[in-house]
C-alpha cells in the first residue's frame, strides 16, 4: 500500500521543463529519499505534493485517493528555505501555524506545551523569534513542521544549515516519528544520511527519474564485483602473495593490524563467490572475505555524471 503516489507528473515552466513524467510511489510508514542535484526538480515535486503549485499533467494520490487541497492539513513540510516571523513570539507563532493546519486553539496549546517541554525549551514561549539564535530557530521550525501530527512528513534538505547537535536531534526525531506511524519523504543530496535512514529512494536528474528502488537493491545492482580480503602475513608468505590470474585481478595491496589486505575484482561476473574464494585459497591463508558495495554517493555521482539517457 502506497501512502503517497505521484503519477506521471509533468510541470513546464516558460522555457524549462521542471518535471518530465515523474512517478514516485512512497509506501506507508517508510522513509523515502528524494535525491538529485540542485535544480533537478525535487522542490517542484514537493511543492506539487503540498498543493503550492499544480502539475501540468499527472495526479497525486494520498492513501489511495486523489489528493485534494485540504490534504495539506495532514502534511508537515519543512522547506529548504525556511523562516519564521521574526517579530512574533515563539508561542504565538506556533499557535498560528498550528491553527492554519487545522488544529483547534486547545489542541494547539497542548501540542506546543508538549513539544517545548520535550526539547526542554518551555521558557522560550514568550521570547520573540528574533531574540533566538539560529540553532534555536531551527528547533522551532521543526516543531512547527510536526505540531499537527501529520501522517506525511516532507523534509527538504533537512540537514543543511543545522548544526551537528540539531542534525542528530532531527534524525532521532524523524526515526521516532516513523515508529509512530508517519510516512516520511526526504529530499537531500547528503548521501550519508540517505544510506543511514532511507528505505527507498528516487533519484531525479534533469527533471527525470533516473534511478528508483530500495537502497539495498540499488547498491546490489550497482556493485562493481569488488572484494576486500585479508590474509595472514608472516616470514614465509610475502606481502604480495596474491597474484592476478584469469579468475580475479588484484586492484591494490595494503596492510591492516598485522594482516595483509588486498582489493580484488572478479574477472568475470559469472564467477561465483565460492569459485573466487577457492582460487584465492590456493595462494594464501584467507582471514576475511567481504564484498564491497558501492556507497550511495558513488552511485549518485556515477548516475548523475553520465550523459542523460532518455530511456533511463
Amino acid at each position: 500500500m502506497y501512502y503517497l503516489e505521484a503519477k506521471n507528473i509533468v510541470k513546464q515552466y516558460a522555457s524549462h521543463r521542471a518535471l518530465d513524467n515523474v512517478t514516485v510511489q512512497v509506501p506507508e510508514n517508510h522513509i523515502y529519499g528524494l535525491l538529485g542535484p540542485n535544480g533537478a526538480g525535487k522542490t517542484t515535486l514537493i511543492r506539487i505534493i503540498n498543493h503550492i503549485t499544480g502539475p501540468d499533467s499527472g495526479e497525486v494520490y494520498i492513501n489511495g485517493r486523489l489528493s485534494i487541497p485540504s490534504d495539506v492539513e495532514h502534511i508537515g513540510y519543512l522547506p529548504e528555505e525556511r523562516g519564521l516571523y521574526k517579530k512574533m513570539k515563539v508561542g504565538e507563532q506556533l499557535m498560528y501555524l498550528a491553527r492554519l493546519k487545522g488544529l483547534t486553539r486547545n489542541d494547539a496549546k497542548n501540542q506546543i506545551k508538549h513539544w517545548l517541554n520535550k526539547f526542554d525549551i518551555a521558557d522560550w514561549e514568550k521570547k520573540k523569534v528574533e531574540e533566538l539564535s539560529k540553532g534555536m530557530q531551527q528547533k522551532i521550525q521543526f516543531i512547527a513542521t510536526v505540531i499537527h501530527r501529520p501522517k506525511l512528513l516532507i523534509f527538504d534538505e533537512p540537514f543543511s544549515g543545522f548544526d551537528p547537535v540539531n542534525a542528530n536531534l532531527l534524525k532521532n526525531e524523524i526515526l521516532e516519528l516513523r515508529k509512530e506511524g508517519a510516512t516520511i519523504i526526504f529530499s537531500t543530496h547528503n548521501m550519508g544520511s540517505v544510506e543511514e535512514i532511507c528505505d527507498e529512494i528516487t533519484l531525479i536528474n534533469r527533471s527525470r527519474v533516473v534511478l528508483q528502488g530500495e537502497i539495498n537493491a540499488i547498491r546490489q545492482a550497482h556493485k562493481k564485483h569488488l572484494f576486500k580480503v585479508t590474509y595472514k602475513a608472516d616470514e614465509t608468505i610475502p606481502a604480495q602473495t596474491l597474484h592476478s590470474n584469469d579468475i580475479y585481478h588484484v586492484m591494490e595491496y595494503g596492510q591492516s593490524s598485522g594482516y595483509n589486505t588486498a582489493i580484488v575484482r572478479k574477472s568475470d561476473k559469472a564467477t561465483t563467490n565460492n569459485e573466487l574464494i577457492t582460487a584465492m585459497m590456493r595462494e594464501c591463508q584467507l582471514a576475511t572475505f567481504e564484498e564491497i558495495l558501492p556507497s550511495m554517493n558513488e552511485i549518485f555521482i556515477d548516475t548523475v555524471g553520465e550523459p542523460v539517457n532518455p530511456e533511463a
Binding site: 503550492i52 501540468d56 492539513e73 522547506p79 528555505e81 525556511r82 523562516g83 516571523y85
Partner: protein, 440 residues
C-alpha cells in the same frame, strides 16, 4: 474551511500590538493638537508680560495717540532727552522719539531700543500713528460730516450662493465645498500610500524571511494575500478611528484647559489654507454669522460624503494594496521596488493634482474622466462630490472602481503566487505578464 479569518486575526493582532503602531497612533494626534495649539499658547504667554514704552514727544502734538493697553504701557516724557540718557536707562522696552510735525516730515519718528523690537510692535506703533494722522488730515479739510460720509461709503458685500437642487435649493459655499473635498481627497491619498506601502513591505518581508513557503504549504497564496490586505486595511481604519477620537478629545481638552478657541480657530485655519490652495473666495465660509454658517453646512450632504468617503476608501485601497502586494511579491529587496513604484507614484500624484485642480472646475472634462478611471477616481471624485455630482455618476464610478479592484486582486494574486517563491533576478514587466498567464 477558509483560513482567511485566521490570517486576518493574526496579522491584525500582531500589527496593532507593535510598539511602533502604539507610538504612532498616540503620538500623531498629540503632536497635531500641540502643533495647532502652540501658537495660541505662545500668544497667551506673551500677553502676560507688560512692556514699558517711553515716548519722547518733542513737538507736544501727539499726546493722545498712544494709550496703554494689555501689552504696552506708554509713558510720555516731554523733557528734552538725549540719546545718551536713553542709552543709559535700560528700564523701558523701547523709546519712541518724535522730533517734528509728522504731517510735514513723515520720517521724524524713530524707535530706539536696547533689544531688537518685534515686528508686531513696530506695526502697532506705526498703524496707531497713521490712524491718528489720517483723522487729523481729514479734519483739516473742514468738511462737515466727512467722517460719516467716509464710513457710509465703505460698502460691505455679503454674497450668498444658492444651488438649484431637486429637493429644494440649498445655500452653498464654494469655499466650504473645496475644504471638505480637499480634506477627503487628502485622507484617501495618504491612506493609499501609507497602508498600501505597509502591505508591500509585509509581503516583501515574508518573502525575504522565507516564512512564505511554510505559509503557502498551509494556505492558498491568494488567501494569504487577501488576508493581509484586509488586515492592513482594518489596521488603517483602527488607526484613523483612534486618531479622530483622540484629536477631538485632546482638542476639547486643550481648549478647556487653556480657554482657547482652538477648534474654531483650527477650522478657520483650514478655510484660510484652502482659500490659498483652491484660489476661491471663502468670505461666506468664514462669515462670523453662525446662522449663515449653519445654513451653508446644511447645504453640503455630509451623510453622502461620509458614505462615499468610506466606499472610495475601500475601493481605492483594495485596488492599490493589491498592486503593492504584487510588487512586494515580485522583488527581493527594497531597492528593486523602484522600477515598479515609480509608475504607481506617478499615477497617484497625477490623481492628486487633478483633484486639486478639479476644485476649481469640478465639471471639467479632465475631472470627469479622472473620476471614472479607477486608478484616479477615489482621489478625484471626492473633490467633486461636495460640489454636487449626479448620483448615476457616483454609482457608475463606484461600480467601475469595485470591478477593477476585484480584477486587480485577481491579477495580483496570479503574480503573487509565482513571485513569492521565486528568488534572485528582478523580473521584467514582460515576465510579470507571463506569470499572470501561468496555470496554477
Amino acid at each position: 474551511m477558509s483560513k482567511i479569518p485566521l490570517i486576518i486575526e493574526s496579522e491584525y493582532m500582531s500589527r496593532v500590538r507593535k510598539k511602533s503602531f502604539l507610538i504612532m497612533t498616540i503620538l500623531t494626534p498629540v503632536l497635531m493638537v500641540l502643533l495647532c495649539s502652540v501658537p495660541a499658547m505662545l500668544t497667551l504667554f506673551d500677553n502676560s508680560e507688560m512692556r514699558q514704552v517711553t515716548i519722547v514727544d518733542q513737538t507736544g502734538l501727539y499726546e493722545d495717540v498712544y494709550a496703554s493697553d494689555d501689552e504696552y504701557t506708554y509713558t510720555y516724557l516731554n523733557s528734552e532727552t538725549t540719546t545718551e540718557q536713553m542709552r543709559s536707562d535700560e528700564e523701558p522696552y523701547a523709546y519712541i522719539v518724535i522730533t517734528d510735525n509728522l504731517l510735514l516730515k513723515p520720517n521724524a519718528m524713530t524707535i530706539y531700543s536696547h533689544k531688537q523690537t518685534t515686528a508686531s510692535f513696530e506695526i502697532e506703533v506705526e498703524s496707531k500713528m497713521e490712524e491718528y494722522l489720517h483723522d487729523v488730515k481729514l479734519a483739516s479739510y473742514d468738511i462737515p460730516n466727512l467722517q460719516q460720509i467716509i464710513e457710509e461709503s465703505n460698502v460691505r458685500l455679503d454674497v450668498s450662493s444658492i444651488r438649484f437642487d431637486e429637493e429644494g435649493d440649498t445655500q452653498t459655499s464654494a469655499g466650504l465645498a473645496t475644504a471638505v473635498g480637499m480634506i477627503s481627497t487628502f485622507l484617501i491619498y495618504i491612506f493609499l500610500f501609507a497602508y498600501g506601502g505597509m502591505v508591500m513591505n509585509s509581503v516583501m518581508q515574508e518573502k525575504t524571511n522565507r516564512i512564505v513557503e511554510v505559509m503557502v504549504s498551509s494556505v492558498k497564496p491568494f488567501d494569504l494575500m487577501i488576508g493581509k490586505i484586509i488586515s492592513v486595511g482594518l489596521v488603517g481604519l483602527t488607526q484613523i478611528g483612534i486618531w479622530v477620537i483622540l484629536i477631538i478629545g485632546l482638542g476639547i481638552g486643550v481648549s478647556l484647559a487653556f480657554g482657547l478657541p482652538l477648534l474654531s480657530g483650527e477650522g478657520a485655519d483650514i478655510m484660510a489654507q484652502t482659500q490659498t490652495m483652491g484660489g476661491t473666495d471663502t468670505t461666506t465660509a468664514i462669515d462670523p454669522d453662525m446662522l449663515d454658517m449653519m445654513q451653508t453646512f446644511a447645504g453640503i450632504d455630509f451623510t453622502m460624503i461620509i458614505i462615499c468617503l468610506i466606499l472610495y476608501f475601500i475601493g481605492g485601497y483594495v485596488l492599490y494594496a493589491s498592486l503593492f502586494a504584487a510588487i512586494g511579491s515580485a522583488v527581493d529587496n527594497e531597492a528593486d521596488t523602484n522600477q515598479f513604484m515609480i509608475p504607481i507614484t506617478f499615477i497617484i500624484l497625477f490623481a492628486f493634482y487633478v483633484g486639486i485642480f478639479s476644485a476649481e472646475n469640478p465639471e471639467g472634462g479632465l475631472a470627469w474622466w479622472c473620476s471614472m478611471i479607477p486608478f484616479t477616481s477615489p482621489i478625484v471624485m471626492m473633490v467633486r462630490i461636495p460640489f454636487g455630482v449626479a448620483v448615476w455618476e457616483i454609482i457608475l464610478s463606484l461600480v467601475i472602481l469595485f470591478a477593477s479592484s476585484l480584477g486587480m486582486t485577481w491579477v495580483a494574486g496570479r503574480i503573487y503566487r509565482v513571485g513569492i517563491l521565486l528568488y534572485g533576478k528582478k523580473p521584467s514587466y514582460k515576465e510579470l505578464f507571463k506569470w499572470i498567464k501561468y496555470k496554477a
